[in-house]
Structure formats: C-alpha cells, structure tokens
C-alpha cells in the first residue's frame, strides 16, 4: 500500500512537471497571457510582472509552485483573478455528476445488453450497434440527440445543469460509447468464461443457463472490465470537455478549454494535477476491486 502511495506521488509529480514544462515551452510569455486582449503598454507590463512575481528565475518559480501545490495552494488564475482552488471546486460538481451518471448508465447498459443478448440474432444486432456507437465521434451523437430530443421534440432542456432532465442527454451521449466498449468486453469475457471447464461443471450440477451466466460467468467477465477503469476515466474526463461544449454545460471541461486557449497556467496545471490525482485514486480503487472480485490475488 505504501508502495502504491509512493508510485502515485511519483505519477502526480511527473504529470505536474511535464505540464509545467510544456506550458513553459509554449509560445508567448506569461505577461501576454495575463494581458489577453487588453491594452498593452510597458507600464502595464511592469505592474503585472510585479504583481505575479514573474521576475524570479524559472526554477525558483517552479519550486515555489511545487512547494505551494504540496500544501494544497494551487495559486490564482491569471484570467479569472480567483484562487484556482475555488475555480476548480466550483466546476467539479457538474463534471463529476455527469461523469458518474454516465459511467453508471454505461455500466448498467453494458451489463444488461451483454447478459440479455445471448441469442445469435440478438447479439448480432447488439454488436453491430456497439460497433457503430464506438466508432462514431461522441460529439456527433450528442449533436444528433440534442437536435432530435431537445430542439425538435422538446423533451429535455437544451442545456444547463439544473435538475435531472438536463442531465439526461449529456449523460446518455457520454454513456453510449462507454456502453459500446464495455458490452463488447463483457460479452467477450462471458464467452471466454463460458468456455471454461468450471462452467461445464456448474451445468453438470443442474444449474440453469441464467444462473450459470449470472452466478459464475459474469464475475469472470467483470475482471477485464475492471482493468478498463483507467481507460474509462480518460474517456469520461476527456469526453466531458466535448460534451460540455456541445450541451453548454458548466464544468471542468469548459474551464480546461478556456484555460488552455488563454494559457491560464495555474488553472491548466491544477487541472493536470487534479486529473492525475483522480487517475491514481481510481487505479488504486480498481486494484482493490480486483482483490475483492478475484481472491486469487489476495496474499494469503
């Protein structure tokens, strides 16, 4: 566990440093970023440099950044003039709600589909649909859903973050491709598990098909799904940026996009560190889940 923690920290540090270096290498200097479209005179520049302590050597700035980040102080946004922590804290809710709902929806959908579509024709229909979902850009799905169910039929609000209704379309958009991949993995896992000798044994005991599927095969099929959790995280966080754009939802994605395009260094770094943090946490959880589901890996 201690080892995990250590590697987690290393990953965090590496991610933060990589991002820091990347942004340092970006064209245009920090002062330009802070000025944005505003007026630009030597006086203004010097004031900005003084205000943000930009006259210190790069290494000092970096170390200072690390030191303060370690204490949970992520600095202030150049653009929004607010503490980065507040910026992130404000936006995390909607993104989290979206991601968690989509993940839940995707997983449930995948489970239901994988278990119910066992007959040849059903699985053919289902796997074709999955392939299409997985191969379609998610924003296209979102745009089409939005046009049909919101603009034309008016069943769901167009955007925003109020109430469950506004969550439906974005969550579905994000969940569909997730469900597509997970169904494929689950179905494949089920097929493999059903080929295993212990399944024949289970049948030989008089177990019905459904029971074999749910009680025996499903747990085995879930194992590869757990290894996908890291991937799922990337999809959800990355997908959120696009989904939030398409549906005009607030959230971390919007903050990130804005921060990157306007080179709001503190915010970008915070998002990177945050996302690396979530990644580490999620992967640790996945490992734990693995131990719960597969006792073979537990140390005796």
């Amino acid at each position: 566990m201690l080892r995990r923690l250590a590697t987690g920290l290393v990953v965090l540090w590496a991610a933060a440093t990589a991002a820091y270096l990347a942004l340092l290498a970006a064209p245009g200097d920090t002062v330009d970023s802070i000025i944005g479209e505003g007026a630009d005179t030597p006086l203004i520049r010097s004031q900005i440099i003084r205000e943000w302590n930009l006259d210190r050597p790069a290494l000092v700035q970096y170390l200072d950044y690390l030191w303060r980040a370690a204490q949970g102080d992520l600095g202030r946004s150049y653009l929004l003039q607010r503490p980065v922590r507040d910026v992130i804290a404000d936006q995390i809710g909607p993104t989290l709600t979206l991601a968690v709902t989509a993940a839940g929806l995707g997983i449930v959908l995948a489970l239901v589909l994988a278990v119910t579509t066992r007959r040849p024709w059903a699985r053919r229909v289902s796997s074709t649909t999955e392939l299409v979902l997985v191969s379609t850009p998610s924003f296209l799905i979102g745009i089409v859903l939005l046009s049909v169910f919101s603009f034309s039929l008016g069943w769901f609000p167009v955007s925003g973050d109020q109430g469950v209704a506004a969550l439906v379309l974005p969550a579905v958009t994000l969940a569909l491709p997730v469900a597509g991949v997970l169904t494929q993995v689950l179905r494949d896992g089920l097929d493999r598990a059903l080929d295993e000798p212990f399944v024949v044994t289970a049948r030989a005991r008089g177990l019905g098909e459904r029971a074999v599927l749910v009680r025996h095969a499903l747990r085995h099929a879930l194992l590869p799904v757990i290894t996908l959790i890291g991937w799922l995280f990337g999809v959800l966080l990355g997908g959120a940026v696009i989904i939030e754009t398409v549906f005009g939802r607030p959230g971390l994605g919007q903050v990130t996009l804005q921060a990157v395009t306007s080179e709001d260094l503190p915010v970008v770094l915070a998002v990177v560190v945050f996302s690396a943090f979530v990644y580490v946490v999620i992967n640790t959880l996945a490992d734990l889940a693995y131990l719960v589901i597969d006792p073979r890996l537990r140390r005796s």
């Binding site: 049948r203 005991r205 008089g206 009680r215 073979r296």
Partner: protein
Amino acid sequence: MSELLVSVRDLHVTFPHRGGDVHAVRGIDLDIHRGECLAIVGESGSGKSVTARTLVGLAGPNAQVRSSRFEIDGRPGPFDWPKLRGGFVGLVMQDALVSLDPLRTVGAEISEVLKVHDIGDRKDRPARVRALLTAVHVPEPERRAAHRPHQLSGGLRQRALIASAIAAKPPLLIADEPTTALDVTVQAQILDLLAERRSTGETLLLISHDLAVVARLADRVLVMRDGQVVESGPTSSLLAAPEHPYTRQLLAAVPSAASRGRRLSAPAEPLAAAPASASAEVVVEAVGLRKRYGAHTVVDGVDLTVRRGEIVGLVGESGSGKTTVAQLLFGLTAPTSGTVAFEGAPWTGLKERRRRSRRRRLQLISQDPLSGFDPRWTVRRIVEEALPSVPAAELLERVGLGADVLDRYPRQLSGGQRQRVAIARALAPRPSLIICDEPVSALDVSVQAQVLDLLADIRAADGTALLFISHDLGVVHHLADRVLVMRDGAVVESGPVDDVFHHPQHEYTRALIDAVPTLEVSR
C-alpha cells in the same frame, strides 16, 4: 439382470467444423447397471470424455447427437436435463484443477447443488456441506469450505469436486480421468476414495487412459479407439487375455519394472545394450547445490553425477525441486551455493559469454515442446538452426520423422511429433548431456512408448548421457540406470534403479512406490 441406469445404442456425436466434421463418437453401445463400476479406457482423443458428457446432455453447444436408443433410468428422452444433472448423474470433470469456479468458495459451489436440487433449507446447508466434505475425507471441513480453489492442493480440489458431484446423492457418478494431473501419492488417495464409494454400492462410470487405475476399480471395461469400442468385457478377463491387437498394444506400452530392457512400442524386440559403466568419464557433476527464493529453500544440498552414456532418473512429487535442479545444471539460474562442473571444467559462476562456446554440448528437452519452438519457424528452420551443416531431413530421420513434417509449423504437429522434433534438435549438436524435464508426461502411452524407445536408442548409439526428470516411477524404472529421489529440495535416496525401487530405504520412497497402481498382467 440388475437395473439399467443408462442404456445407449449406436451413439454418434458429431461436431460440425468448417474443415470437415469431427466425428468424435461413432456408434457405440453402452449399458450401465446399478451398482457396477464400468470403465472406459482409450488413448487421448478417442472420444471418452465426449461420451461421458453426452450422458448428461453436455456434449457441447453445437454437438449433433444421434442414437437408436438413449434411455436414462429406463425412460427415453427428451430429458429434463437440469433435473437429471447432479440429481441423477453426478459428473466429475476431467480437468480437476480448473473445474471449480476460482472466484467462489468451495462451500458455495457445493451448497449450490443443494440449492438447485432443493435439498435441505438454507440454514442447514452449511452443515450438509461439512458432512459432504467429511465424507470425501477433506480434513478441517469447516475451514476448507470457506476456501477458494487456489487455496487448496490438487488432491483437495479433486475431493471437493467429488463432494459437489455427489451432493445431491445421484445414483450414478461419472468420474472423467479423476487422477490425472495429481501426484502419485494423492492419486492413490483419490482412488481409495472412489473404491470406498464403490463399496457402498454406488454406481460408477470411470474414465481413464491409465489401465492400471482401471484395473483396480472396474467390473467391466470398454476400450475405445477413434470413437468406437474395439473391445469390452469383465476387467479381469480383458486384461488377462486381450483379444484386440490395440488392447494388447496398449497393455504392452505401459513402462514398468517388468518392461526394462525391452522395447515398448514393439514388445518382441529387446533394447540395444547400455554402454554405461561406473568408470565412464563424468559429464556433469554437481556438489552441494542449494537454491533459495527469498526465505524458501527450493533446492537443498543436492549432489549429483552423470557419467557418459548413463541415464539418471530424478523423481519426486510436484514442487520437490526437480525442475529447479535442471535449471541450475543448465546454468540459467545461478545456485545460491554449490558448484556444477561440466565435462570436467567449471560451469557455474562463469560469465555467460565464457560458457557460450560450450553451450551446445548441453541440451534441454522440456515437458511442453511447443513453447520451446519459435512459433514463426518451420520444422526445417528449427532443425537447421541447430545444425546447419546437415540436411534437416537427415536429422529428422534419426527420430523417425518423415520429410513431410519439414515445412510445417510446430503447432501443426501432434504431441509425439513435436517431442521428436525437440529430440532431433537437441541431438543435432551432438551434446554430451541432455536434460529431459518430464519429456513424456504430456503424451499418450503409445506415443510415450515410442519416445522412450527413441531415447534409449540414442543413448545406446551415441553414448549421450541423459538426466531424466519424471514423476512417473514406472517410466524411470523402465529407462534409467540410476535414480535420485527428491523431497522438499533434498535428495532422500539414490542408487541403481532396481536397488532403490525394489528395496527402498527411505520411508518416503516406500510411500511413493506403494502409491503407484500396478497392472499385474502376463505378457
């Protein structure tokens, strides 16, 4: 005549396949009477398992089953399979080690049967599970019920599997190769268990490729080959006077003390005389070999000498360190302490670069030859790589393979062919020692017979020394000149084979020998 539990006539099972259907069972007749023990024997792929599985309606998802009569418990089909399975017929699957769900506890697996067949209520199931585990002699049943398969040894797993098969008290128990993959001592215990159930009047359909196992338990025997029954009859008369040549061949191919000095594949011919003598030069000498992995000492002070032209057997139960000794000799792992000298010169402790030139004099044949071949290479390339100066066909001829296999990939060969290619490759550089780690344990008796004969021939012709690792005492007794018995990493006994096997000094050796089922047949 007693009551017929199962009666089948002219059973055919076909698996449709793109490259041509596999006709696994071709018109066999089968009757199982209440209270008897019927055995099916035959080489691998002869259709034994398919037959057994067909009896519980699990021939396979796309199997086509035909028969002129198929009656279970006196009634013709269609059957209510879920009810019959476990309830009327208990099945112990062939792959004992992987036939329990690895993610569930043994107790859950067993009580699942009770639940499906509505036996007892929820509350008293744990007690029943405990009783069942006790009945199959699982020690500490309470604790074991909460364990998962990976926490159990092979023997315990097989017992738990049997417990789950008999949980619903089915009148008929089918045991498909219940002892393969188990150590001899454990195998003996499982056979005892089955014999015990037999004696309580249970009906048993026993499937095995090992005639010795069958001889001990069965009342009647069916001999299968290529999906057909070639011979059947009461055990004693069939073993005493086999009528079909195939049955005879099968019996003759079993290596044992009795077969020493004779060919197994052609019983009439004697083997070429062994050139070995106690004064021949020493090929490899290991002194005080010790290997630790962490706190675990895997090899514990092994001394070993192999002389030119000698076959030295290394036996011991699983995990006793045999393979590790082989690796230490081969020089892939360094010993924690102790030294190995090869052909009179130091071998351990050298840099790999310094050993490279002598490498070819020391060859290795493993249990699974497939993994020893680069999957992208044809047989020709594999063999030519070993000795480019000689045409591959010539090398293959020595091991009895025709030129037709030259352009095949290893995967396209049968197990016996693969092992021959492995031998051909090992022989090519004219090594002074070949380390054989369980070279025949994955092979059928008849194929095994051919490979063993081949190894004996090579030793006789080239004077190549062999270190022959096996858990099969019969094989070692048949082939080796001297034997070392290992237990827990240490050699507990060693000496000429006949001395050790006929007059074992160590109690562990004795236990090993007692556990081997033997076939008392006249040849």
